[in-house]
């Protein structure tokens, strides 16, 4: 059914959907890369920096692109203009929860990581970067579930 709907999707929906999906792919790629580099850094300062900068320079632009695309396609598909009494399908709030709630967690992750990098430069421990790693893994898991929900469209 989902695929059948995709066949009849109006052309004007395609570009916003492309922006949304491309952003989400870059976000997931950035999180996977940043988390992997942080996980295998084993205290190496250069690797810890690279892991953090990957989150900041790859995953964050991906998040912004994904979120802009999400709002754009949401509007194009008319979800912002539903008649009263008509509920949104289950997959849509899942997307909102992980995009907006996840966005706040991602922001906290980046702030903690930024402070962690400053502490690292000052010769202090890498504890905050461990927190950054854990939050990145949690975000990655949340976004994998979101991709499943947005593509399988349960409910």
């Amino acid at each position: 059914m989902t695929s059948l709907l995709a066949v009849v999707r109006p052309d004007s929906w395609n570009f916003p959907l492309f922006v949304h999906v491309l952003g989400a792919m870059i976000l997931v790629g950035g999180l996977l890369t940043g988390a992997s580099i942080l996980a295998f850094a084993r205290g190496d300062v250069r690797s810890l920096r690279l892991g953090y900068w990957t989150l900041l320079a790859v995953a964050l632009p991906g998040f912004v692109l994904m979120r802009i695309g999400a709002q754009w396609i949401y509007s194009r598909e008319g979800w912002d203009d539903l008649p009263s009494g008509v509920d949104e399908p289950t997959w849509l709030p899942i997307g909102y929860l992980t995009a907006d709630g996840g966005g706040i967690v991602f922001l906290i992750t980046l702030v903690l990581g930024g402070i962690g990098i400053r502490r690292l430069n000052a010769g202090k421990g890498a504890g905050l970067l461990k927190a950054t790693l854990i939050l990145s893994i949690i975000l990655l898991a949340a976004y994998v579930i979101t991709v499943w929900a947005m593509s399988g469209k349960p409910g």
């Binding site: 995709a6 066949v7 395609n14 492309f18 792919m25 790629g29 990957t54 994998v144 991709v147 349960p154």
Partner: protein
């Protein structure tokens, strides 16, 4: 969710894994360009494995589940132009991806060789191998092929 909906969700998740692997290799390609020591090069090994697993899952998942969907879902046929285009682009991306891997494996091999020879310091030859221009071009072409698959999957020209 129907069985086909599950297959579609796993197909899309595979595509995400494939792109995530490509993104990971882009970051490593940039990072390795400033790496001239065996230790620094070898340190990237476990991260390379993550990327290899992600691209392998992504490549196999997208093609197997994609072909399943082409046969199973009404309205699509395996000989549709946009599906054939996707399969051709998938093959191009996979073939070039394999060649890219060989380019960067050479750096890892050289780093192990230097470490075994007791030369842990900066090495100009290792840096030159890590800065392979051919590797960058090949990865760019493979990335472009995957981007075109995404465009093809969304616009479905001719469908």
């Amino acid at each position: 969710m129907s069985f086909d909906d599950w297959i579609l969700a796993l197909h899309v998740l595979s595509a995400f894994a494939y792109v995530a692997g490509m993104v990971l290799f882009w970051v490593l390609i940039v990072a390795v360009r400033r790496t001239d020591t065996p230790e620094g090069t070898i340190r990237m090994g476990p991260v390379v494995k993550v990327g290899t697993i992600a691209t392998a899952i992504g490549a196999v998942g997208t093609i197997v589940l994609g072909i399943w969907l082409a046969f199973s879902v009404g309205g699509y046929d395996i000989w549709d132009g946009w599906i054939i285009a996707a399969i051709v682009l998938w093959a191009i991306a996979g073939g070039i991806g394999g060649r890219t891997g060989k380019q960067y494996t050479a750096g890892m091999d050289k780093a192990r060789e230097l470490e075994a020879a007791g030369q842990p310091g900066p090495n100009a030859e290792l840096l030159a191998i890590n800065r392979t221009q051919r590797g960058v071009v090949l990865h760019a072409v493979a990335s472009l092929a995957i981007l075109l698959i995404l465009v093809d999957m969304i616009w479905k020209p001719g469908a």
